[in-house]
């Protein structure tokens, strides 16, 4: 069976907001970009796919594993094998950049060094989040997201804090993951040429 990410009639919501139903079908190596106005539910959809926000209905499957669905126990976020970059980053202030990545991916030292090099944060590996700029913190969070080599990447505004030079680095790294057969769903206000766009309704 194909390792596709299949989302069917998914309904989400948080607080007073309700969104959906959403449908998605992404084969390995494919990406989808969620676009829409502020408050239209892009982040909520990503967090629902990650298992952080409960779904009200519909199904989410990866290959033959059902993450969400009627009569099926919801799969916990840490069992889904997803990598999530949150808009608020959520870096843990008591750990260095390397410490965060190693905690997410024990024994992945070589991959961490390689990713850090590609994201231009090798010199920052021993720093704690308090000593990082906004753009550096975002790349450090991306490093932590990618370190465990997840099958699905859910990225919320992955380039929002980057200037032109570092944005190109981030885009190259994400495209590299796509080329390795990873599935990518991202929310962004900046265009990603060649990536399928999903237009979401207004908030």
């Amino acid at each position: 069976m194909s390792e596709a990410l299949v989302v069917g009639r998914l309904e989400t919501g948080r607080g007073g907001f309700r969104g959906g139903p959403y449908d998605l079908h992404l084969e390995p190596g494919e990406a989808s970009q969620l676009v829409g106005e502020n408050g239209c539910g892009k982040s909520t959809l990503l967090e629902t796919l990650a298992g952080l926000v409960p779904a009200f209905g519909g199904t989410v499957r990866l290959g033959d594993t059902t993450w969400e669905g009627p009569g099926v126990p919801t799969v916990a976020p840490w069992r889904r094998g997803v990598g999530v970059l949150l808009q608020a980053l959520g870096l843990w202030p008591h750990l260095t950049v390397r410490g965060q990545a190693e905690l997410a991916a024990p024994g992945a030292g070589e991959r961490i060094d390689d990713l850090a090099d590609r994201l231009a944060i090798t010199a920052l590996l021993d720093r704690r989040p308090a000593r990082l700029s906004g753009g550096e913190a975002q790349r450090a969070a991306l490093l932590r997201t990618l370190a465990p080599d997840p099958r699905v990447l859910l990225l919320d505004e992955p380039t929002s804090a980057q200037h032109d030079g570092t944005e190109a680095l981030v885009r190259a790294v994400i495209r590299g993951e796509l080329a390795r057969g990873r599935i990518v769903v991202l929310a962004s206000h900046r265009g990603w040429p060649g990536v399928r766009t999903v237009e979401m309704g207004s908030g």
Binding site: G90, P93, L103, A130, R144
Partner: protein
Amino acid sequence: MRETDRGARLLLALALGPFALFALLWILHAESGEGSGGISSVIAVVARTLVVAGSGAALATVVGGALGVLVSAYRIPARGLWTPLLLAPFLLPSVVVTTAAQSWLAGGSLVVLVRGEVGAALLHAVQLAPLVLWGVARSLAAVPRAERLAMRSQLSPGRAARLLAARAAPVALRLGSLSFLLLLPRIEIPAYTGVETIGPRALAAFTASGSDLEGWLWCTVCLGIAAPLLRFATATIALEAAPASLGRPDPLAPRSVVATAIAFVPALLAMLGLGGLCDDALEEGFALAQSEASRWIAALGLDILRVVPLSLALALVGWRIGIGVGRVGTALAALPLVLPGCLPALILLEGGLPRLPAWIADGTIPLDFAQGVRFLGVAVLLGRIADRTIPRAERDAASFLSPITRRFRVLLPRAVGGITASATILVVLILGEVESASLVVPPGRLLPAVELHQLLHYRYDVQAARLSLALAAAAGILVAVIGRVGRGAKGAG
């Protein structure tokens, strides 16, 4: 079924169940002819308890909340001294606060302020206002820096303070309801101020009059009154803390707890000095003090060796329960808080203690157990608050780690400050705990809190003053040490 629905039904049962049980017990009680007084006496005691606990909690909420907003909103000179001084009454045992206040006002016309219902309510407020102050200041310290800067640049100081007060109101109200829960079954202050409330009546029923049925009747009344408030007190508090690097320093972080310890001894000295007790102690010379001192130091040392590990273990267990069981479990763990403090020890005495081997029954394990059960609710509530102060994004990011890694590598280190504060509060509460300690004190063991209670009861004020100072100094040093350890651990990574 969603947790909220389950919680609502369970707490409704907890609220209504006790009243049904109360009616049943009352019928049995009336038929058996035990106890004293009719229904009018019961209603009078319940009404008095509600008035004393309610007005004490309301006053503590208003005063503590206002002071919390003031110390957070304005740049007050010598803030490092004032804040710990304001917190000090919470760190002192109830008997010390009461006796010091009564001694202070004994000769004046204001003595009415520390007698009767008014006195009980005022003394309750004095003791618990610092708890509200602590919570409010802690929640306001979590206001993101950007929001704070926006307030300063766009609003007048008065309007900014009003905005902060509105922001702190949910926390203050929840801590106010927690104060009410803590005050409901209190025994010491009502007994010292000569007010007959539920706590002293329950203790008398279980011990002096030997009517267990009447004692349980009073316990059901406490449960019935407290259950609806437990739901409110354990509701999620939205404390979205800013990252440590971006937020302003927390005025109640371990470093400030050390400052509290430093201010702790002078605060007690000031209170006792006003009562004239220190003068008496100095007049008597140091000869007697030396022999007493060696006895008390040994007793304190032994008790500290018991209390510190117990408090740390309780704080950790409370944190673990607080992050794992949700509101319903938190409410259940908090139940012993709303029952008379002597109850765990009494149950132990009536139940399993006589059947235990002598080496357990005569040791400190029963005492540890009774005090642990009594204060578990405090540990769970503080542990839950410590967890909720971790920003949501950090907790979400940790959701992708295995549960054990998440709990012990991310959530625990991030909650160390809160757990340290919880352990510190527990050290103070357990060191000053009398109600369980006087019932299950190990044979031949001198417990400073029980000794102090007896000295005050028999009016040995000079010795009581000395022991209070020794107890205060020991607690201050412990608070300082735990605060330093907590600060070191917080920075580790």
